[in-house]
Amino acid sequence: MTTTSARRLFWWIVIGVPLAAFAVWALDDNAKQFCSTLLNGITLAALYFLVASGFTLIFGLMRNVNLAHGSLYLFGAYMGWIVGDATDNWFLAVGVGFASSALVGLLLQVSIFRFMQGQELRQTLVTIGISIVLADLMLWWFGGEIYSFDPPRAIYKSIPLLVIPKYPTYRVVVLGIAIVIGFLLWWFLNRTRVGMMIRAGVDDRGMLAASGVNVQRVFAITFAIGAGLAGFAGVIGGSALSISPGEDTRYLLASLVVVIVGGMGSIPGAAIGALLIGLAEQFGLSYAPTYGIVFTFLIMVLVLAFRPNGILGRRTA
């Protein structure tokens, strides 16, 4: 017991002291840059959490590494853009982003993945094929242009925050949305009947089926929610930045790294992983521009070296 806590303390010191030293130096050197990087990191983490939570939800229950997750992100974003452009209603666009991706996810689960239960590698290969086809279809339809959303003015201005006189409100809103979604997911998984079934399925699929639950329906619901979250994040992220071909790969990589670091199948793990990766990416970009990605990678290597299943991952087959 004492050795564990001693070791934990050792790691806190080894990792924490240099980070604290860096923070003190950076605050002293340029407080504004440090604070804005910190805020950017946290808000980017919020976006990553939105994307990765769906990915990890699907993986946790179905052991399906959905490499088409990035395509679902982009698909939701495009669908949301069409509706938002036609109706001038951003909130409707968000809803459509969720619904359209959820529908595609549902179709995929019902028409393809249902027939490949247990063949994990094959499912993964299928998702790769789907992502290639989807990416090309979307490129065909929407071209290479960059699309941007038009959110309501109220959330698209700037407010003073910390030492920064003008910080974009929208980024703070994204953070708020992520927290709300995180809470909703927690509530859904821990307080509802379907959530209970999902959690039971994560632990033991066979036992859940044996207790008379229609596992296929639980799978379909989970896949729809996970895919829908990707589309939802597509509209949210597309409003923060923009949507263009290639974003699918970017957010697929983000979800991959976030869930590898945080622990696959764990929602709190996704939150921790997103926070780490978001901060690392922004600080890397801000303080070591051409090596920014190396920090992300380094975190992944360190986590894999010492905790192969991720920070909150459990050892399951």
Binding site: I128, I130, A135, V257, V259, T290, I293
Partner: protein
């Protein structure tokens, strides 16, 4: 059981993989040991070995060899270079994936990244045109640059292996994909070493003994030589104690561990071997393209290698090359079938169909049709060959 018996037992099960079904039926796993294995185990004499080796050569082998040798002389330079040379180079990279995935049970998407590292090293250490943003190549002779490139790429592959063997199955795909995409973004962001978005231009194949390897036919033979070398090397390695132990690890790591094999070491070494193959392929690719940029190791290229390997079939080393030839043909002639920009749709669709309906790729399709329509009884000619 004696060691020889164990090896034989391991070798026989080679055709099986957990995630796919053999169209011929499950009995293939329990098929009697192939003649090659028996000959190898029973007769260690060198003459007998050569005899067994020659006895293994069939008419189709001779025909294929003759065809690939004559090929550049009967077609125009476009077919020799763009189709032949590129297919051999890509096939070599895909072969490294077939080796890792088909025989080691580790599907690594980072093989194209390993090849990309080798390509970059050829440009960085060898002679290349000035790159944007201050990155410049050292201008060393090509022999040294190539050796360093293969060495660095192999070390890189070993590190990738060391990192990813900590996980298993689908996790490996995720981690290697993450590593590959990270390298892509690093090469794109970094101007001081990797030359940023543009990368390096004017990386030319050398002229040796008056033969300019930039010319289509010499390049084709260069690529063919390394493709054949890689192919026979893999075939040889799969019959060596290491290869057989690796297949044992794929089938059941715990049992192999209990037998006293170092599972992790076998896996990491497999990554190193695959790294050498991919690195040579990467050197060929940079000479083929005359340039290297982040796009050379993009997600799309990484997936292309996977498509090639899976499309051809991962049950036999030849699948990688069959897949590469089909892939390059589709890539070049998609323009005639459907608009050029829709190439990804065609190849992605073909890939999807193959994964959905024939997990063993074109080889599996061929085996299925042969069993069904040709000599129905001898279904294991192909399968017995693949063990050795």
């Amino acid at each position: 059981m004696s060691a020889a018996e164990w090896r034989r037992a391991m070798n026989t099960g080679a055709g099986r993989r957990a995630w796919s079904r053999i169209p011929g039926g499950p009995e293939a796993g329990g098929a009697p040991p192939s003649s090659a294995t028996v000959a190898m185990v029973a007769a260690p004499g060198i003459e007998a070995r050569i005899g067994a080796l020659l006895g293994h050569i069939r008419l189709r082998h001779v025909l294929v060899l003759a065809a690939v040798l004559v090929y550049p002389w009967v077609v125009n330079s476009f077919f020799a270079f763009q189709i032949g040379g590129q297919a051999m180079a890509l096939g070599l990279i895909a072969l490294s994936l077939t080796f890792l995935g088909g025989y080691g049970g580790m599907v690594s998407l980072a093989q194209m990244t390993v090849a990309g590292v080798a390509s970059y090293m050829v440009a960085i250490f060898g002679v290349a045109g000035a790159a944007q943003g201050g990155a410049s190549s050292l201008g060393w002779p090509w022999e040294i640059a190539v050796v360093i490139a293969v060495l660095v790429a192999t070390i890189f592959a070993t590190l990738v292996g060391w990192l990813s063997v900590r996980t298993e199955g689908i996790y490996t795909i995720m981690i290697t994909l993450a590593i590959g995409v990270s390298f892509y973004y690093l090469a794109q962001q970094n101007y001081s070493i990797f030359g940023g978005h543009e990368g390096f231009n004017q990386v030319y194949a050398p002229t040796v003994l008056g033969i300019n390897f930039r010319d289509p036919i010499p390049f084709y033979y260069l690529a063919l030589f390394w493709a054949l070398a890689g192919y026979f090397f893999v075939k040889y390695l799969l019959r060596s104690p290491f290869g057989i132990a690796l297949q044992g690890v794929r089938e059941n790591p715990r049992r192999m561990n209990a037998l006293g094999f170092h599972v992790t070491a076998h896996r990491v070494f497999a990554y190193s071997v695959g790294g050498v193959l991919a690195a040579i392929g990467g050197v060929l690719m940079v000479w083929y393209n005359n340039r290297v940029s982040p796009g050379s190791a993009s997600t799309e290229m990484m997936l292309n290698i996977l498509i090639i390997a899976v499309m051809g079939g991962m049950k036999h080393p030849i699948g990688a090359f069959i897949g590469a030839i089909v892939f390059v043909l589709v890539q070049n002639f998609a323009i005639d079938i459907i608009a050029r920009e829709r190439f990804n749709l065609v190849i992605g669709g073909v890939f999807l169909l193959i994964v959905l309906f024939s997990p063993d790729g074109l080889l599996g399709l061929w085996a299925y049709f042969r069993d069904r329509f040709l000599s129905g009884g001898i279904q294991s000619k192909f399968k017995s060959a693949e063990g050795g």
